[in-house]
Symmetry: C2
Subunit: 219 residues, 2 copies
DNA sequence: GAGTTAACCAAACAACTGTTTGACACAGTC
DNA sequence: GACTGTGTCAAACAGTTGTTTGGTTAACTC
């Protein structure tokens, strides 16, 4: 049977070759798979199936499983920077962070996995960038201390870590949440409720910025 | 002509048979291995090597990898119950929980892994028991609310979760901690400092029990 | 249209993982 | 000493995993 020959005009609906699209499909599928099962639990075959592409293309486009993992880490690192909004009052920052479980659940899970899989600064490509990102929150805490709104005995770095860990709880401790609250920890309903609660607690701690209406911007 | 039967080591090691000891060796090694790498990342061979026993004994004594995992989960569940001390003031409870990362780092990591690997109440053998264990803390928060020491708008379950997540941060977010504080998140030095900070924050929230004699603090 | 390159695929592949097999050794009993 | 049941082991096993190979096809160039 003679193969019907060439079509000059591109057909969007048909399966045509599109390396960029394929790369993106793989990356998206990899994010979902790694987020769901972690590095060790993720399966190349499952990623390919999710992406709807041949398994071999993962080796073709990326440097195997490990290279693919590095690629999605790099990708999320770029996106996460967008989350940072200097000058945002702390309660609002925390709120946004908690709601990230709704907007980018994969990213939050990825960060949680990487914490448990962590094997030292040298193996963590995000080690430097991340601390830079958090420095903003820490400075914010320091400013509140300087303004006398927070006891000096509080370690700003520790408090920031606590807030971050608390914000990630719906992702890191879903089994505990489901047990004590009976709600679905991944549901929008719960996550929004939880974010609200987080803000209440943050305010209770006195983390409200000195001038809540006019955040001071400085570059 | 049939080959003569191969002789094993002519000089067998002077090792006493001790099934109970072997079981325990395997369980200890399994705790360490599962805590270090999670279920998917753990290797039966590595557990056997850690325990210094033949790999096959894992199948002999337990029901394979999965059975072994269930066995150590069961084991930790029993121990964790000891941690509960009804009537302990909340800040002290939290402090103890944070220090658990020092006493039983494997148990804390196990709980963290199980959160990410969580696939619903039906697959979680600890689902029921855990919520019971936490009920004490939740009731404590409720009591504080009733005593007017904590705003009624605070959801006791959410606050308990936040505290728990915050207490586990040195285990769940070591990469973040190392980045922002420069300290080793698994060191006794840091964990004790962090536990102290947690207590400070808890008191700041007004979680001090009504009758507990605590020195007044001013910032 | 011939030729070239790059995207893609199916199957083969080697390495690894957990489990099973069959044999052996120790301890207790007769 | 022979017998028996259980603890222990090395090796074989079957299933899975990630990667490589070799070939096929679309798109692009001349």
């Amino acid at each position: 049977m003679p193969p019907s020959k060439p079509r000059r005009s591109p057909r969007p609906q048909e399966r045509q070759r599109d390396p960029d699209r394929t790369r993106r499909l793989i990356l998206d599928a990899a994010s979902a798979e790694f987020a769901a099962h972690g590095y060790a639990g993720a399966r190349i075959g499952a990623i390919a199936a999710r992406a709807g592409v041949n398994q071999q293309l993962i080796s073709y486009y990326f440097d195997g499983k490990e290279g693919l993992y590095r690629a999605i880490s790099e990708r999320w690192r770029e996106r996460e920077t967008e989350l940072v909004a200097p000058g945002t009052p702390l309660p609002e920052q925390i709120r946004r962070y908690a709601l990230e479980a709704l907007r980018n659940p994969d990213a939050v899970r990825l960060m949680a996995w990487s914490g448990l899989e962590y094997a030292g600064p040298e193996t963590d490509p995000d080690h430097g960038p991340r601390s830079k990102r958090l420095q903003g929150s820490i400075d914010e805490v320091r400013a509140l201390q300087a303004a006398g709104r927070l006891p000096a005995e509080v370690d700003p770095a520790c408090l920031t870590i606590m807030l971050m860990a608390a914000a990630m709880a719906p992702t890191t401790l879903p089994h505990v949440i489901e047990g004590v609250s009976g709600m679905d920890p991944s549901s929008a309903e719960f996550i929004e409720h939880y974010a609200d609660q987080l803000v209440i607690v943050a305010r209770l701690l006195g983390l409200e910025s000195a001038d809540s209406a006019a955040p001071s911007r400085q570059g």
